[in-house]
Symmetry: C2
Subunit: 490 residues, 2 copies
Amino acid sequence: MGSKITSRAENYSQWYIDIVQNAGLAENSAVRGCMVIKPYGFAIWEKMRDVLDKMFKDTGHQNAYFPIFIPKSFFSKEASHVEGFAKECAVVTHYRLKNAPDGSGIVVDEDAKLEEELIVRPTSETIIWDTYRDWIQSYRDLPLLINQWANVVRWEMRTRLFLRTAEFLWQEGHTAHATQKEAVEEAERMLDVYATFAEDWMAMPVLRGVKSANERFAGAVETYCIEALMQDGKALQAGTSHFLGQNFAKAFDVKFLSKENQQEYVWATSWGVSTRLIGALIMTHSDDKGLVLPPTLAPIQVVLVPILKKEKQTPLILNYLREIEAELKNAGISVKLDDSDNYSPGWKFAEYEMKGVPLRIAVGERDLEGNNLEIARRDNFAKEIVSREGIADRVIAMLVDIQSNLFQRASAFRAESSHTVDSWAEFVDVLENKGGFVYAHWDGTSETEEKIKEMTKATIRLIPFGEGESGKCVLTGNPSARRVVFAKAY
Amino acid sequence: MGSKITSRAENYSQWYIDIVQNAGLAENSAVRGCMVIKPYGFAIWEKMRDVLDKMFKDTGHQNAYFPIFIPKSFFSKEASHVEGFAKECAVVTHYRLKNAPDGSGIVVDEDAKLEEELIVRPTSETIIWDTYRDWIQSYRDLPLLINQWANVVRWEMRTRLFLRTAEFLWQEGHTAHATQKEAVEEAERMLDVYATFAEDWMAMPVLRGVKSANERFAGAVETYCIEALMQDGKALQAGTSHFLGQNFAKAFDVKFLSKENQQEYVWATSWGVSTRLIGALIMTHSDDKGLVLPPTLAPIQVVLVPILKKEKQTPLILNYLREIEAELKNAGISVKLDDSDNYSPGWKFAEYEMKGVPLRIAVGERDLEGNNLEIARRDNFAKEIVSREGIADRVIAMLVDIQSNLFQRASAFRAESSHTVDSWAEFVDVLENKGGFVYAHWDGTSETEEKIKEMTKATIRLIPFGEGESGKCVLTGNPSARRVVFAKAY
């Protein structure tokens, strides 16, 4: 490999594509809009999934699996959900192919037309709530705390690997509760889980808040979200958690017998994160040399590279590295010893920088003689010669430091890129020339929100939690109860 | 629950359905042929998946993810594959819905017709080999050892939960090799992995061998399989591994530059197991009281049930059980303490028998006084009063013994149900009256195989590995090189 990638300054979009491609994360497939997640990219997703799955289970959730197909009529049952989801989607109309009569290949068998079309799930609220009707009879069946890891399909016209693809992988939690209070608490709890994951594991600082009505999930009463800031100053919605009220319970007639012996509609939440997080991870930390990964999610945490010059030294250096490899593995560190002989050390250095491996250990003849090794950090390129003794403890300390450094660096970038503005001129200027998060007053109407979007392409990313200072709307001058966060977004 | 299930003797099919339903494993969904895998059933699948995934990684494989959709034309590229797979499948023809002009709901937007139909993957050889063309250039890119965990769809007309459903979950390995020898070794290695998993984890003895030409995977040169015997005397194919020769490499033009600097077609394998294994697990061990699970795959290995009679004893008994719970968890055992107060101990006993929990510990007042507990095995219903001291070691030993007992019991059943026959009359008699595996001579022709299937519904489950004794075909009397294994099958 060793191939050069476009710099961020030159072309940010191309830089992103180059990293996804050259680090071996994903590629476009023969099917428009659908990606192939390559082994290295999938290994990152597996790490994310395992951590999140444990967090979900630790908060009392169980996994289950629901059908990939949803009958078309299900979408019409919840009025606002149908507007949001039953439009650009993959529609199954037939269930059989046959040989073409003219021998030209295979064709759809028109005799095998489905009575009702099936939609490949874009999200599963409808089929799940149709199922919950039979699962929930009494308050004793609640709360029902279920999560599903699945593929979903939304027929996006403009796609970008990980960020927006027709098919993507995600998890979707769907919970049922006896009271509004419990459901709201659940939606807030899962937002906290997402924020903790983003910050502690992805080393990606996020803002937490609620969406404006315009940006709400179709069918939700309230949508909570975490928003991260990418290096080009654009926001990325990294996870959402929805309080669905009784909307789906009413649409699918899901009632329970309360402690007070009353038939009541069930309260609902849903929440999800997807392979989009990999896109967020890339754009938060990476640089012009390639991918940068936080140690906690890196498939390979340390790469070992022998510097082989004299034939006779080869076995000694390799043995030395194998001992280090064993010691690090023993300490629970994920290590790769690259002893391939068809690439130079320089090529390997560039390759593992491209792949974002947090630490590189190189050993040459002189290191061997001195019982030393060279250790290089991917985050800041710092290199030092250190003693072989106590290497596992040193590596662990350095991985912890890298994790923390990445979070601090991203936090500092976000702080620099956050702007509080009070005039329309300043608002436009910041969005045009600086980007980032813009804290501004808004009069609370959808009309103003839409006008601002038309004029600047910026949307309200979230309304922060808690009380805010009052002021005047940056566009209309009308009274505003608090500042909200605007940004251009992915 | 405590609901009664149909006995095997009364109605074996209904017994199976009752167990799946009453143990809370799965249910039919609103979409014909697609199942909902419920949390308890999915927890078993997660255990299976985690064990298998580790076995795949330990043998050098990496996971990746390929699109759910396959362009229709891809199926026509491999001649025998199209016959096997491009028939009963879900066909996506459109990518948009719209509001019906008459306001009656949503309808397919005829303007959004796909130029080429997309098939929801029934298996992924075609899309994967289309991708491998770009991944493989030289012998240095080989072997390519990739696995995918995914959902697949085959439009089955008669479905049964886990055993045959329109959508199911599985893994599919797809590997590429430089030589025929390596590819054959890989196919054999993965069959061994499956057999080890079936026997050591599922406690389910399996026969290993190759399929006859008639039963081969569409597109394979050789199909290896493991076959298990269910309690009704029918065989169940539990896993297959295919040597695909160069068929897919030729169909998708995948060549590599060999060490000798020659352009050569790549050699391929594929191999898979699915949620069908849960059906096999149920039918191998369960009894008329419900599910029986091998301890290594049981989501709950030990259930703790308090026998509460006097109000004042409640906290003491619960504390005593919580101590045991902590001690067992500490020893790595999966435990559930059922302290719910809305069901009687008797109800709970029946419930966890139904769910196949391998061990039950019950504690009443007398046990508490004697520092004892009652421990009951699910496999043979043996009960004993044992001392509280050293309980973790005792539980571990009992779980190991249950695992081994289940395997021995299933092996003994298979031995009793295996018949060596040399005449047609005996062949028919055994199949009609006894069932099981029938070892008989076969003349090696597809014609004879088909006749036997027509006459008896039995198929050749496999041709055992290794040399066999020669003889005469049980139907035609023609020479036979070795006995093969016949059975009626799921």
